[in-house]
């Protein structure tokens, strides 16, 4: 009992310290109510895509933001998760729980192997070797004609026992539940001794070594956990899209995850989710914006997106969550000042 109550206390403390994250998650839970009354069912799909991208980005953020490892390989783990679902269906397995199990095991193993090989390098070498592994997996799946090759495979949504994923909003809340669980797990990890050590490895690995710990072991463990999270996101993504193809594991999709993380705020829990919201909203509205300003150039909207990225890197300290944090802090300070009048 003592164990459970301390866990619950940890959870409450964590949620209080990460208000933005849990506000967003609560928002996603309530969002379908709004879309129902505003008759905007399409935006549920956008929200699902945001949650899935956010989940994958959260996984990458563990190693990228907290661990300092710039990995271009994580799109491959999303892809492996998705293909676990698809390939299982080819062999007649439609049980969603089994799919989940396969995705977790496959990504865990892949994460271990790639992490072990890649983490012997660092810096730009690490970036490149993860890119190489992502490309190899991409070419592998492109060549697997039995599983659709690059045309991909049309699949059905998984079966989770009594929950029919084709009924409205069931898939939405399944994704939401997974997102909440992933967020909770990450919250615990980050605050745990493991998480603190991982962050210490990022800032000063030799000091960690001096304490008698193995930085490599922490990095690999973090890498495997992040790979599994990406795999879960990938498996759910396959159900959402009812289709898999090697495109989801191209190294440029890892780049997208990185853009999401940095937009939202590197090394924060809410950052990836915030970044996913921003990224998809930009994808929706930049073409519309450019289309209304200069209709002839509507399809060249990436000419706005490129400089925007550069601006975010140059000026956006801590991304969106950093900005929100500063705004909130400034407001609090102003409030306190006013009270004293």
């Amino acid at each position: 009992m003592g164990g459970l109550s301390s866990v619950i206390k940890l959870a409450c403390d964590g949620m209080r310290d990460n208000r933005l994250l849990w506000a967003l998650i609560a928002g996603f839970a309530l969002f379908p109510i709004y879309t129902h009354f505003a008759d905007l069912p399409f935006w549920n799909d956008v929200a699902m895509r945001i949650m899935l991208l956010g989940m994958a980005a959260m996984g990458l953020n563990l190693v990228l933001g907290y661990g300092g490892m710039v990995s271009f390989g994580h799109a491959a783990f999303v892809g492996i998760g998705a293909y676990c679902v698809a390939i299982s269906q080819v062999y007649g397995i439609s049980n969603g729980w089994l799919h989940l199990a396969f995705a977790i095991v496959a990504c865990g193993v892949a994460g271990l192997v790639i992490g072990y090989l890649a983490l012997r390098t660092s810096g730009i070498y690490f970036i490149m070797i993860t890119l190489a592994f992502a490309q190899m997996l991409f070419f592998l799946f492109v060549s697997l004609e039995a599983y659709g090759g690059d045309d991909g495979m049309s699949i059905d949504r998984a079966e989770f026992g009594i929950i029919d994923l084709y009924a409205p909003l069931r898939l939405y809340f399944l994704i939401w539940a997974c997102l909440a669980i992933v967020a909770m797990v990450l919250m615990f990890i980050v605050r745990s001794r493991f998480g603190v050590t991982l962050r210490a490895v990022k800032s000063n690995a030799s000091r960690v070594e001096a304490m008698g710990l193995s930085p490599l072991r922490f990095k690999i463990t973090g890498y495997v956990i992040s790979a599994v999270i990406c795999g879960i996101a990938g498996g759910l993504f396959a159900s959402w899209q009812e289709y898999v193809s090697p495109d989801i594991m191209h190294w440029t999709r890892s780049g997208e995850l990185m853009i999401i993380i940095i937009l939202g705020g590197l090394g924060t829990l809410a950052g990836p989710l915030l970044g996913a919201i921003a990224f998809l909203l930009l994808e929706e509205f930049l073409p519309v914006l450019l289309g209304s300003l200069a209709p002839a150039y509507a399809e060249n909207w990436m000419i706005l997106f490129g400089p925007l990225l550069i601006m975010v890197v140059l000026f956006g300290r801590g991304g969106l969550s950093g900005m929100i944090g500063r705004w909130y802090a400034a407001r609090n300070a102003a409030g306190k000042g006013a009270d004293r009048r």
């Binding site: 730009i124 490149m128 060549s143 990185m258 853009i259 940095i262 400089p307």
Partner: protein
């Protein structure tokens, strides 16, 4: 498999290798000296190719196109460094990756708006459209021999410059230990700008040389970028000599692998498996090579930093 076909393919590999070297040389110096991950280097290839193709189309003279495109590309690199790049030196790698990724998007769209999304027309100059018999009965395109020649000349020029001149000494010092070089009073800002512009220029030359052979279109530099990143990793960051050797290795491996791997596989496996696995393996070959090198030599073959 006759010796003539092997020789011809070796020439092909060499040509691919020197083209890669032109792109990788600048990149290895930028990464080695400025510790800057410049993903938009492929855009420099595209910019050079477009300058040359446009001037050639307007003037009707290929050599004029190249002659004018070289200083223009140098200038574009110089301006880019001054406006954007120098603000990013202090950022960490991931931020540099993202910012330069933004640059890629920007340049691709700029070219698309300026020249349209379709590929530009470009062809070989009439003076180099013929063939040279490298062996009896083996005609080899004269233009490609020219490319090999230009590439080797550039490699020699860079080698002499870096090893025999004072600026070259500063470059080597910068590659080995940037902080110390700055502490010794070298005007590091101008040095960086010149290195960047020179790197852009060489990449642009690669684009100019490739223009008549391939499609001049937005995004044409990206495949070269990935390969040249592989090259500088294998060769060792900051080392031009390493880049040259690695570029030749990668060029040969990629070319010979593509051509001979399916045949080799057929000796071991049955036709269907070999035909399926062969091309896939050939595309992965370069990456496998890099991964193997990194596992045994985590900092490449000839790293500049001692």
């Amino acid at each position: 498999m006759t010796s003539t076909i092997i020789l011809e393919q070796t020439f092909n590999g060499l040509q691919a290798g020197v083209t890669l070297f032109l792109v990788a040389a600048g990149l290895t110096l930028i990464l080695g000296i400025m510790d800057f991950v410049f993903l938009a280097h492929g855009a420099q290839v595209m910019i050079g190719a477009y300058f040359a193709a446009a001037i050639t189309a307007a003037s009707g003279n290929f050599y004029l196109g190249i002659l004018l495109a070289i200083p223009l590309t140098f200038a574009s690199g110089y301006v880019l460094e001054f406006l954007v790049i120098r603000h990013l030196y202090r950022r960490d790698h991931m931020e540099q990756v993202l910012a330069t990724f933004g640059l890629i998007l920007f340049f691709n769209e700029l070219i698309r708006i300026g020249f349209g999304p379709a590929a530009l027309y470009s062809d070989l100059p009439p003076s180099l459209s013929g063939f040279v018999e490298i062996l009896p009965d083996t005609p080899y395109p004269a233009y490609r021999l020219g490319v090999i020649g230009v590439g080797l000349a550039c490699a020699l020029a860079i080698h002499l410059f870096v090893s025999r001149t004072r600026i070259g000494a500063m470059v080597r010092a910068g590659a080995n230990n940037p902080e110390m070089t700055a502490a010794l009073g070298v005007n590091i800002r101008i040095l960086f700008r010149l290195i960047f512009a020179a790197g852009a220029c060489f990449a642009g030359v690669a684009g100019m040389l490739l223009g008549p052979l391939t499609a001049v279109q937005p995004g044409m530099g990206e495949p070269l970028l990935i390969l040249s990143l592989v090259v500088i990793i294998i060769g060792g960051i900051g080392s031009v000599r390493g880049a040259f050797i690695a570029a030749i290795i990668v060029g040969l491996a990629d070319t010979l692998g593509r051509v001979f791997l399916p045949g080799l596989l057929r000796l071991v496996f049955d036709q269907a498996t070999a035909d399926g696995a062969g091309p896939a393996l050939a595309s992965m070959l370069v990456y496998i090579l890099m991964a193997v090198v990194l596992i045994f030599r985590p900092t490449g073959l000839f790293p500049a930093k001692g």
